[in-house]
Symmetry: C2
Subunit: 246 residues, 2 copies
DNA sequence: CGTCGGGTTGATAACTTTCAAATTTCGTGG
DNA sequence: CCACGAAATTTGAAAGTTATCAACCCGACG
Protein backbone atom coordinates (compact mmCIF):
# COMPACT_ATOMS: atom_id res chain seq x y z
CA UNK A 1 0.00 0.00 0.00
CA UNK A 2 1.14 3.48 -0.78
CA UNK A 3 0.60 4.67 2.77
CA UNK A 4 3.01 2.14 4.09
CA UNK A 5 5.80 3.07 1.79
CA UNK A 6 5.32 6.67 2.77
CA UNK A 7 5.14 6.10 6.47
CA UNK A 8 8.35 4.26 6.02
CA UNK A 9 9.93 7.69 5.70
CA UNK A 10 10.99 8.89 9.14
CA UNK A 11 9.77 12.38 8.35
CA UNK A 12 6.35 11.06 7.42
CA UNK A 13 6.26 9.07 10.60
CA UNK A 14 7.17 12.11 12.62
CA UNK A 15 4.63 14.36 10.95
CA UNK A 16 1.87 11.79 11.07
CA UNK A 17 2.13 11.77 14.83
CA UNK A 18 0.62 15.21 14.70
CA UNK A 19 -1.45 15.65 11.60
CA UNK A 20 -3.32 13.25 9.46
CA UNK A 21 -1.43 13.10 6.22
CA UNK A 22 -3.76 13.13 3.26
CA UNK A 23 -3.23 11.76 -0.20
CA UNK A 24 -1.77 14.99 -1.60
CA UNK A 25 0.47 15.49 1.40
CA UNK A 26 1.93 12.03 1.06
CA UNK A 27 2.43 12.66 -2.62
CA UNK A 28 4.28 15.87 -1.91
CA UNK A 29 6.33 14.17 0.80
CA UNK A 30 7.31 11.52 -1.65
CA UNK A 31 8.44 14.17 -4.09
CA UNK A 32 10.56 15.74 -1.39
CA UNK A 33 12.31 12.42 -1.02
CA UNK A 34 13.10 11.90 -4.68
CA UNK A 35 16.63 13.17 -4.82
CA UNK A 36 18.69 10.92 -2.60
CA UNK A 37 22.31 10.72 -1.59
CA UNK A 38 24.47 8.65 0.69
CA UNK A 39 27.24 10.43 2.54
CA UNK A 40 30.02 8.81 4.50
CA UNK A 41 30.77 9.60 8.11
CA UNK A 42 33.17 12.45 8.70
CA UNK A 43 32.79 14.28 5.42
CA UNK A 44 31.79 17.91 5.78
CA UNK A 45 28.36 18.58 4.36
CA UNK A 46 28.29 22.31 4.46
CA UNK A 47 30.80 24.88 5.54
CA UNK A 48 30.42 27.87 7.69
CA UNK A 49 29.43 30.84 5.57
CA UNK A 50 29.08 28.82 2.40
CA UNK A 51 26.21 29.70 0.14
CA UNK A 52 24.28 26.60 -0.62
CA UNK A 53 20.60 27.13 -0.90
CA UNK A 54 20.12 23.48 -0.40
CA UNK A 55 18.61 21.63 2.47
CA UNK A 56 18.33 17.96 3.25
CA UNK A 57 15.99 15.63 4.97
CA UNK A 58 17.92 13.13 7.00
CA UNK A 59 16.55 9.68 6.32
CA UNK A 60 19.01 7.58 8.21
CA UNK A 61 22.05 8.10 10.39
CA UNK A 62 23.30 10.80 12.73
CA UNK A 63 24.63 14.26 11.97
CA UNK A 64 25.87 17.08 14.14
CA UNK A 65 25.64 20.77 13.41
CA UNK A 66 28.31 22.92 14.93
CA UNK A 67 30.23 26.11 14.81
CA UNK A 68 33.96 26.56 15.17
CA UNK A 69 35.25 29.52 17.11
CA UNK A 70 38.36 31.33 16.11
CA UNK A 71 40.22 29.92 19.10
CA UNK A 72 39.54 26.44 17.79
CA UNK A 73 36.81 25.54 20.23
CA UNK A 74 33.80 23.78 18.82
CA UNK A 75 30.24 24.17 19.95
CA UNK A 76 27.81 21.58 18.76
CA UNK A 77 24.43 23.17 18.33
CA UNK A 78 22.40 20.07 17.78
CA UNK A 79 22.44 16.48 16.72
CA UNK A 80 20.18 15.53 13.85
CA UNK A 81 18.53 12.17 13.59
CA UNK A 82 16.21 10.43 11.15
CA UNK A 83 13.39 12.68 10.06
CA UNK A 84 15.18 15.92 10.88
CA UNK A 85 15.94 18.73 8.50
CA UNK A 86 19.45 19.84 7.71
CA UNK A 87 20.02 23.45 6.80
CA UNK A 88 16.44 24.47 6.33
CA UNK A 89 17.47 27.91 7.44
CA UNK A 90 20.06 28.23 4.72
CA UNK A 91 17.18 28.18 2.27
CA UNK A 92 15.78 31.27 3.90
CA UNK A 93 18.88 33.25 4.76
CA UNK A 94 21.83 34.03 2.60
CA UNK A 95 24.51 32.44 4.67
CA UNK A 96 24.40 29.17 6.42
CA UNK A 97 25.53 29.99 9.88
CA UNK A 98 27.03 26.69 10.77
CA UNK A 99 28.39 23.48 9.44
CA UNK A 100 27.16 19.92 9.36
CA UNK A 101 29.05 16.71 9.63
CA UNK A 102 27.78 13.15 9.50
CA UNK A 103 28.65 11.04 12.53
CA UNK A 104 27.67 7.82 10.82
CA UNK A 105 27.07 7.01 7.22
CA UNK A 106 23.87 8.83 6.33
CA UNK A 107 21.12 8.85 3.75
CA UNK A 108 19.69 12.22 2.84
CA UNK A 109 17.12 13.57 0.44
CA UNK A 110 18.01 16.88 -1.13
CA UNK A 111 15.39 19.60 -0.90
CA UNK A 112 15.63 22.69 -3.05
CA UNK A 113 14.09 26.11 -2.82
CA UNK A 114 11.80 25.08 -5.63
CA UNK A 115 10.63 22.06 -3.71
CA UNK A 116 9.64 24.24 -0.84
CA UNK A 117 7.88 26.76 -3.04
CA UNK A 118 5.94 23.99 -4.66
CA UNK A 119 5.11 22.63 -1.28
CA UNK A 120 3.75 25.97 -0.13
CA UNK A 121 1.59 26.20 -3.22
CA UNK A 122 0.38 22.65 -3.63
CA UNK A 123 0.03 21.48 -0.07
CA UNK A 124 -0.05 24.31 2.46
CA UNK A 125 -1.12 21.84 5.12
CA UNK A 126 2.11 19.99 4.66
CA UNK A 127 4.09 23.22 4.53
CA UNK A 128 2.59 24.25 7.83
CA UNK A 129 3.40 20.85 9.28
CA UNK A 130 6.99 21.20 8.18
CA UNK A 131 7.21 24.60 9.77
CA UNK A 132 5.67 23.14 12.87
CA UNK A 133 8.41 20.52 12.93
CA UNK A 134 11.03 23.21 12.45
CA UNK A 135 9.50 25.22 15.24
CA UNK A 136 9.61 22.18 17.49
CA UNK A 137 13.29 21.79 16.70
CA UNK A 138 13.81 25.37 17.70
CA UNK A 139 12.13 24.69 21.02
CA UNK A 140 14.75 22.10 21.61
CA UNK A 141 17.59 24.47 20.93
CA UNK A 142 16.07 26.66 23.61
CA UNK A 143 16.07 23.80 26.06
CA UNK A 144 19.64 23.09 25.08
CA UNK A 145 20.46 26.72 25.84
CA UNK A 146 18.98 26.34 29.30
CA UNK A 147 20.96 23.16 29.80
CA UNK A 148 24.18 24.92 29.14
CA UNK A 149 23.36 28.18 30.83
CA UNK A 150 22.00 27.19 34.17
CA UNK A 151 22.27 23.49 34.80
CA UNK A 152 25.24 21.90 36.52
CA UNK A 153 27.36 19.59 34.42
CA UNK A 154 25.79 16.41 35.72
CA UNK A 155 22.18 17.59 35.52
CA UNK A 156 22.92 18.97 32.09
CA UNK A 157 24.29 15.66 30.90
CA UNK A 158 21.31 13.73 32.19
CA UNK A 159 18.83 16.19 30.79
CA UNK A 160 20.38 16.23 27.38
CA UNK A 161 20.47 12.47 27.08
CA UNK A 162 16.84 12.22 28.15
CA UNK A 163 15.84 14.80 25.60
CA UNK A 164 17.66 12.94 22.89
CA UNK A 165 15.79 9.83 23.92
CA UNK A 166 12.41 11.47 23.49
CA UNK A 167 13.36 12.68 20.04
CA UNK A 168 14.48 9.22 19.06
CA UNK A 169 11.24 7.74 20.33
CA UNK A 170 9.35 9.93 17.88
CA UNK A 171 10.95 8.11 15.00
CA UNK A 172 10.95 4.73 16.66
CA UNK A 173 14.62 4.58 17.59
CA UNK A 174 14.28 4.55 21.37
CA UNK A 175 12.08 3.16 24.09
CA UNK A 176 11.81 3.52 27.83
CA UNK A 177 14.89 1.42 28.38
CA UNK A 178 17.28 3.48 26.32
CA UNK A 179 18.66 3.76 22.85
CA UNK A 180 21.58 3.19 20.57
CA UNK A 181 23.82 6.23 20.47
CA UNK A 182 26.88 6.53 18.23
CA UNK A 183 28.20 9.69 19.88
CA UNK A 184 31.69 9.80 21.28
CA UNK A 185 32.33 11.53 24.56
CA UNK A 186 34.11 14.27 22.66
CA UNK A 187 31.04 15.01 20.60
CA UNK A 188 28.77 14.97 23.59
CA UNK A 189 31.15 17.21 25.51
CA UNK A 190 31.20 19.75 22.69
CA UNK A 191 27.43 19.76 22.68
CA UNK A 192 27.20 20.28 26.41
CA UNK A 193 29.91 22.91 26.62
CA UNK A 194 32.09 20.71 28.81
CA UNK A 195 35.53 19.28 28.46
CA UNK A 196 35.57 15.65 27.46
CA UNK A 197 37.36 14.81 30.68
CA UNK A 198 34.78 16.38 32.87
CA UNK A 199 31.96 14.81 30.90
CA UNK A 200 33.59 11.47 31.43
CA UNK A 201 33.43 12.03 35.18
CA UNK A 202 29.82 13.08 34.99
CA UNK A 203 28.97 9.93 33.09
CA UNK A 204 30.75 7.89 35.69
CA UNK A 205 28.80 9.59 38.45
CA UNK A 206 25.52 8.89 36.67
CA UNK A 207 26.53 5.28 36.38
CA UNK A 208 27.64 5.03 40.00
CA UNK A 209 24.37 6.53 41.13
CA UNK A 210 22.61 3.86 39.13
CA UNK A 211 20.74 6.36 37.03
CA UNK A 212 22.03 5.98 33.50
CA UNK A 213 24.79 4.25 31.67
CA UNK A 214 26.37 5.33 28.42
CA UNK A 215 28.72 2.65 27.27
CA UNK A 216 29.50 0.88 24.09
CA UNK A 217 27.32 3.14 22.02
CA UNK A 218 24.29 2.38 24.14
CA UNK A 219 22.40 4.68 26.47
CA UNK A 220 20.55 2.74 29.15
CA UNK A 221 18.24 4.22 31.73
CA UNK A 222 18.96 2.43 34.98
CA UNK A 223 16.30 4.24 36.98
CA UNK A 224 14.11 6.36 34.76
CA UNK A 225 12.10 7.98 37.53
CA UNK A 226 15.08 9.01 39.60
CA UNK A 227 16.81 10.14 36.45
CA UNK A 228 14.04 12.49 35.36
CA UNK A 229 13.90 13.84 38.89
CA UNK A 230 17.60 14.58 38.97
CA UNK A 231 17.52 16.04 35.48
CA UNK A 232 14.57 18.33 36.12
CA UNK A 233 13.21 16.78 32.99
CA UNK A 234 9.88 17.80 31.60
CA UNK A 235 8.93 16.85 28.10
CA UNK A 236 6.11 19.38 27.93
CA UNK A 237 8.00 21.61 25.60
CA UNK A 238 7.87 18.87 23.05
CA UNK A 239 4.16 18.36 23.44
CA UNK A 240 2.30 18.25 20.27
CA UNK A 241 -0.87 19.38 18.68
CA UNK A 242 -1.97 19.92 15.19
CA UNK A 243 -0.29 22.82 13.49
CA UNK A 244 -2.20 25.95 12.79
CA UNK A 245 -3.36 24.97 9.34
CA UNK A 246 -5.36 21.78 9.53
CA UNK B 1 0.57 58.77 3.29
CA UNK B 2 -0.47 55.30 4.23
CA UNK B 3 2.99 53.91 3.64
CA UNK B 4 4.46 56.20 6.19
CA UNK B 5 2.04 55.28 8.92
CA UNK B 6 2.80 51.64 8.23
CA UNK B 7 6.53 51.99 8.17
CA UNK B 8 6.14 53.66 11.48
CA UNK B 9 5.55 50.16 12.83
CA UNK B 10 8.87 48.65 13.92
CA UNK B 11 7.89 45.30 12.44
CA UNK B 12 7.16 46.91 9.10
CA UNK B 13 10.48 48.66 9.26
CA UNK B 14 12.24 45.44 10.02
CA UNK B 15 10.51 43.48 7.27
CA UNK B 16 10.90 46.21 4.71
CA UNK B 17 14.65 45.96 5.10
CA UNK B 18 14.36 42.66 3.33
CA UNK B 19 11.30 42.55 1.15
CA UNK B 20 9.37 45.18 -0.64
CA UNK B 21 6.08 45.46 1.18
CA UNK B 22 3.21 45.77 -1.25
CA UNK B 23 -0.17 47.33 -0.74
CA UNK B 24 -1.83 44.13 0.44
CA UNK B 25 1.04 43.28 2.75
CA UNK B 26 0.87 46.65 4.43
CA UNK B 27 -2.86 46.26 4.77
CA UNK B 28 -2.42 42.90 6.42
CA UNK B 29 0.32 44.27 8.65
CA UNK B 30 -1.99 47.02 9.75
CA UNK B 31 -4.63 44.48 10.62
CA UNK B 32 -2.12 42.59 12.70
CA UNK B 33 -1.58 45.76 14.68
CA UNK B 34 -5.23 46.49 15.38
CA UNK B 35 -5.59 45.01 18.82
CA UNK B 36 -3.29 46.95 21.10
CA UNK B 37 -2.39 46.85 24.75
CA UNK B 38 -0.06 48.59 27.10
CA UNK B 39 1.55 46.49 29.81
CA UNK B 40 3.51 47.79 32.75
CA UNK B 41 7.04 46.67 33.58
CA UNK B 42 7.30 43.63 35.78
CA UNK B 43 3.92 42.07 35.16
CA UNK B 44 4.07 38.50 33.93
CA UNK B 45 2.76 38.15 30.41
CA UNK B 46 2.60 34.45 30.07
CA UNK B 47 3.41 31.63 32.40
CA UNK B 48 5.37 28.52 31.88
CA UNK B 49 3.08 25.81 30.63
CA UNK B 50 0.07 28.06 30.30
CA UNK B 51 -2.11 27.53 27.28
CA UNK B 52 -2.62 30.80 25.56
CA UNK B 53 -2.80 30.55 21.84
CA UNK B 54 -2.03 34.20 21.67
CA UNK B 55 1.02 35.94 20.42
CA UNK B 56 2.08 39.53 20.44
CA UNK B 57 4.05 41.90 18.31
CA UNK B 58 6.17 44.11 20.49
CA UNK B 59 5.79 47.70 19.34
CA UNK B 60 7.72 49.48 22.01
CA UNK B 61 9.73 48.62 25.09
CA UNK B 62 11.83 45.67 26.22
CA UNK B 63 10.77 42.19 27.27
CA UNK B 64 12.70 39.15 28.37
CA UNK B 65 11.70 35.53 27.86
CA UNK B 66 12.96 33.10 30.41
CA UNK B 67 12.54 29.80 32.09
CA UNK B 68 12.71 29.06 35.78
CA UNK B 69 14.37 25.88 36.92
CA UNK B 70 13.12 23.92 39.84
CA UNK B 71 16.12 24.96 41.92
CA UNK B 72 15.11 28.59 41.45
CA UNK B 73 17.73 29.49 38.88
CA UNK B 74 16.56 31.56 35.96
CA UNK B 75 17.81 31.35 32.42
CA UNK B 76 16.90 34.21 30.15
CA UNK B 77 16.52 32.88 26.64
CA UNK B 78 16.27 36.15 24.83
CA UNK B 79 15.46 39.80 25.08
CA UNK B 80 12.74 41.10 22.80
CA UNK B 81 12.78 44.57 21.38
CA UNK B 82 10.56 46.64 19.10
CA UNK B 83 9.41 44.66 16.10
CA UNK B 84 9.95 41.26 17.69
CA UNK B 85 7.34 38.58 18.17
CA UNK B 86 6.35 37.29 21.56
CA UNK B 87 5.15 33.73 21.85
CA UNK B 88 4.75 32.99 18.20
CA UNK B 89 5.58 29.42 19.00
CA UNK B 90 2.74 29.11 21.47
CA UNK B 91 0.42 29.52 18.52
CA UNK B 92 1.90 26.44 16.96
CA UNK B 93 2.49 24.18 19.93
CA UNK B 94 0.18 23.35 22.75
CA UNK B 95 2.26 24.60 25.60
CA UNK B 96 4.19 27.77 25.76
CA UNK B 97 7.52 26.64 26.93
CA UNK B 98 8.62 29.73 28.71
CA UNK B 99 7.45 32.94 30.27
CA UNK B 100 7.68 36.57 29.29
CA UNK B 101 8.10 39.63 31.41
CA UNK B 102 8.27 43.27 30.40
CA UNK B 103 11.39 45.07 31.50
CA UNK B 104 9.96 48.47 30.71
CA UNK B 105 6.46 49.59 30.03
CA UNK B 106 5.56 48.05 26.69
CA UNK B 107 3.11 48.41 23.87
CA UNK B 108 2.02 45.21 22.17
CA UNK B 109 -0.37 44.19 19.44
CA UNK B 110 -2.19 40.96 20.05
CA UNK B 111 -2.06 38.40 17.26
CA UNK B 112 -4.42 35.46 17.24
CA UNK B 113 -4.40 32.15 15.47
CA UNK B 114 -7.05 33.51 13.17
CA UNK B 115 -4.87 36.47 12.28
CA UNK B 116 -2.13 34.15 11.22
CA UNK B 117 -4.42 31.92 9.23
CA UNK B 118 -5.78 34.92 7.44
CA UNK B 119 -2.27 36.08 6.82
CA UNK B 120 -1.31 32.76 5.27
CA UNK B 121 -4.33 32.89 3.00
CA UNK B 122 -4.45 36.53 2.01
CA UNK B 123 -0.81 37.47 1.87
CA UNK B 124 1.52 34.48 1.67
CA UNK B 125 4.38 36.82 0.85
CA UNK B 126 3.94 38.49 4.20
CA UNK B 127 3.50 35.15 5.94
CA UNK B 128 6.78 34.01 4.47
CA UNK B 129 8.43 37.23 5.56
CA UNK B 130 7.18 36.73 9.08
CA UNK B 131 8.55 33.21 9.10
CA UNK B 132 11.79 34.56 7.79
CA UNK B 133 11.91 36.98 10.69
CA UNK B 134 11.16 34.17 13.11
CA UNK B 135 13.87 32.07 11.53
CA UNK B 136 16.29 34.92 11.93
CA UNK B 137 15.42 35.13 15.59
CA UNK B 138 16.17 31.46 15.87
CA UNK B 139 19.56 32.01 14.37
CA UNK B 140 20.24 34.38 17.21
CA UNK B 141 19.28 31.87 19.83
CA UNK B 142 21.86 29.60 18.24
CA UNK B 143 24.51 32.26 18.55
CA UNK B 144 23.44 32.79 22.12
CA UNK B 145 23.90 29.08 22.70
CA UNK B 146 27.43 29.30 21.38
CA UNK B 147 28.08 32.30 23.59
CA UNK B 148 27.16 30.35 26.67
CA UNK B 149 28.64 27.05 25.66
CA UNK B 150 32.10 27.88 24.50
CA UNK B 151 33.00 31.50 25.08
CA UNK B 152 34.68 32.74 28.23
CA UNK B 153 32.68 35.05 30.43
CA UNK B 154 34.27 38.23 29.13
CA UNK B 155 34.12 37.32 25.45
CA UNK B 156 30.58 36.14 25.95
CA UNK B 157 29.56 39.42 27.50
CA UNK B 158 31.10 41.47 24.73
CA UNK B 159 29.64 39.28 22.03
CA UNK B 160 26.18 39.38 23.44
CA UNK B 161 26.13 43.14 23.79
CA UNK B 162 27.37 43.57 20.23
CA UNK B 163 24.70 41.25 18.95
CA UNK B 164 22.04 43.18 20.81
CA UNK B 165 23.36 46.33 19.20
CA UNK B 166 22.95 44.94 15.70
CA UNK B 167 19.39 43.93 16.43
CA UNK B 168 18.60 47.37 17.76
CA UNK B 169 20.11 48.97 14.68
CA UNK B 170 17.59 47.10 12.54
CA UNK B 171 14.78 49.02 14.17
CA UNK B 172 16.67 52.27 14.49
CA UNK B 173 17.47 52.08 18.18
CA UNK B 174 21.25 51.86 17.98
CA UNK B 175 24.15 53.18 15.98
CA UNK B 176 27.86 52.55 15.80
CA UNK B 177 28.45 54.40 19.06
CA UNK B 178 26.16 52.36 21.22
CA UNK B 179 22.60 52.24 22.45
CA UNK B 180 20.25 52.76 25.32
CA UNK B 181 19.85 49.61 27.34
CA UNK B 182 17.46 49.26 30.29
CA UNK B 183 18.84 45.91 31.43
CA UNK B 184 20.07 45.43 34.96
CA UNK B 185 23.20 43.45 35.59
CA UNK B 186 21.03 40.73 37.10
CA UNK B 187 19.05 40.37 33.89
CA UNK B 188 22.14 40.34 31.76
CA UNK B 189 23.79 37.81 34.04
CA UNK B 190 20.81 35.48 33.80
CA UNK B 191 20.94 35.75 30.04
CA UNK B 192 24.64 34.96 29.93
CA UNK B 193 24.54 32.14 32.43
CA UNK B 194 26.80 34.03 34.84
CA UNK B 195 26.40 35.24 38.36
CA UNK B 196 25.67 38.94 38.64
CA UNK B 197 28.86 39.40 40.60
CA UNK B 198 31.03 37.86 37.98
CA UNK B 199 29.30 39.75 35.23
CA UNK B 200 30.00 42.93 37.12
CA UNK B 201 33.69 42.09 37.04
CA UNK B 202 33.58 41.32 33.35
CA UNK B 203 31.94 44.65 32.65
CA UNK B 204 34.59 46.38 34.69
CA UNK B 205 37.30 44.61 32.72
CA UNK B 206 35.73 45.65 29.43
CA UNK B 207 35.64 49.21 30.69
CA UNK B 208 39.23 49.12 31.95
CA UNK B 209 40.37 47.74 28.62
CA UNK B 210 38.66 50.67 26.97
CA UNK B 211 36.46 48.46 24.84
CA UNK B 212 32.93 49.01 26.01
CA UNK B 213 31.12 50.69 28.84
CA UNK B 214 27.74 49.74 30.21
CA UNK B 215 26.68 52.32 32.72
CA UNK B 216 23.58 54.28 33.51
CA UNK B 217 21.47 52.31 31.09
CA UNK B 218 23.76 53.13 28.20
CA UNK B 219 26.00 50.81 26.24
CA UNK B 220 28.88 52.66 24.64
CA UNK B 221 31.44 51.15 22.33
CA UNK B 222 34.79 52.66 23.28
CA UNK B 223 36.76 50.89 20.57
CA UNK B 224 34.49 49.11 18.16
CA UNK B 225 37.22 47.42 16.15
CA UNK B 226 39.09 46.04 19.11
CA UNK B 227 35.80 45.03 20.64
CA UNK B 228 34.67 42.97 17.68
CA UNK B 229 38.09 41.37 17.57
CA UNK B 230 37.96 40.37 21.21
CA UNK B 231 34.38 39.19 20.90
CA UNK B 232 34.97 37.06 17.82
CA UNK B 233 32.02 38.93 16.44
CA UNK B 234 30.69 38.26 13.01
CA UNK B 235 27.30 39.52 12.02
CA UNK B 236 27.09 37.23 9.01
CA UNK B 237 24.54 35.01 10.62
CA UNK B 238 22.16 37.90 10.61
CA UNK B 239 22.70 38.63 6.96
CA UNK B 240 19.63 39.03 4.98
CA UNK B 241 18.10 38.25 1.69
CA UNK B 242 14.61 38.04 0.45
CA UNK B 243 12.63 35.17 1.87
CA UNK B 244 11.74 32.26 -0.29
CA UNK B 245 8.40 33.57 -1.48
CA UNK B 246 8.90 36.86 -3.23
C1' DC C 1 15.48 60.23 57.06
C1' DG C 2 15.13 55.40 56.06
C1' DT C 3 14.43 51.94 52.87
C1' DC C 4 15.15 49.61 48.67
C1' DG C 5 16.99 48.13 44.37
C1' DG C 6 21.02 48.13 41.92
C1' DG C 7 25.94 48.25 41.72
C1' DT C 8 30.68 47.24 43.57
C1' DT C 9 34.33 44.86 46.12
C1' DG C 10 36.88 41.19 48.79
C1' DA C 11 37.53 36.58 50.47
C1' DT C 12 36.54 31.87 50.14
C1' DA C 13 34.66 27.71 48.18
C1' DA C 14 33.14 24.97 44.40
C1' DC C 15 33.34 23.59 39.97
C1' DT C 16 35.57 22.82 35.61
C1' DT C 17 39.54 22.82 32.69
C1' DT C 18 44.07 21.62 31.39
C1' DC C 19 47.93 18.70 31.07
C1' DA C 20 49.94 14.28 31.26
C1' DA C 21 49.58 9.55 31.07
C1' DA C 22 47.58 4.85 31.56
C1' DT C 23 44.03 1.79 30.00
C1' DT C 24 40.56 -0.05 27.09
C1' DT C 25 38.22 -0.78 22.71
C1' DC C 26 38.01 -1.68 18.02
C1' DG C 27 39.09 -2.35 13.20
C1' DT C 28 42.53 -4.29 10.26
C1' DG C 29 46.10 -7.08 8.42
C1' DG C 30 49.04 -10.91 9.28
C1' DC D 1 42.95 -16.07 16.04
C1' DC D 2 46.33 -12.84 17.36
C1' DA D 3 49.06 -8.58 16.93
C1' DC D 4 49.08 -3.91 16.10
C1' DG D 5 47.96 0.92 15.87
C1' DA D 6 44.58 4.39 16.22
C1' DA D 7 40.86 6.20 18.59
C1' DA D 8 38.22 6.52 22.65
C1' DT D 9 37.91 6.30 27.50
C1' DT D 10 39.56 6.76 32.13
C1' DT D 11 42.27 8.54 36.01
C1' DG D 12 45.27 11.85 38.77
C1' DA D 13 47.06 16.25 39.96
C1' DA D 14 47.36 21.14 39.41
C1' DA D 15 45.67 25.45 37.67
C1' DG D 16 42.10 28.50 36.40
C1' DT D 17 37.52 30.21 36.27
C1' DT D 18 33.25 31.25 38.30
C1' DA D 19 30.00 31.05 42.16
C1' DT D 20 28.80 32.12 46.77
C1' DC D 21 28.66 34.80 50.86
C1' DA D 22 29.10 39.02 53.24
C1' DA D 23 29.60 43.69 53.21
C1' DC D 24 29.36 48.38 51.70
C1' DC D 25 28.09 52.21 48.56
C1' DC D 26 24.88 55.04 46.22
C1' DG D 27 20.96 57.36 44.24
C1' DA D 28 15.84 57.32 43.89
C1' DC D 29 11.83 57.71 46.32
C1' DG D 30 8.21 57.99 49.79
Amino acid sequence: MDDMSNLDLPLARKLSTFIELKEEDLLMLTRLHENNRIVEAGSGLEHQGAIHHKAYILRKGWVFSYKLLKDGARQIVDFQISGDFLGLRSLLLRTSDHSFEPITQIEVSEVTKEHLKLCFEMSPRLAAALLWAASRDEAMVVEHLIDIGRRSAIVRTAHFLLELGVRLELVGLADRNGYHCPLTQYLLADALGLSAIHLNRCLRKLREKNLLSFQGGQVTYLDFTALTRLADFDSDYMDHEKPILH
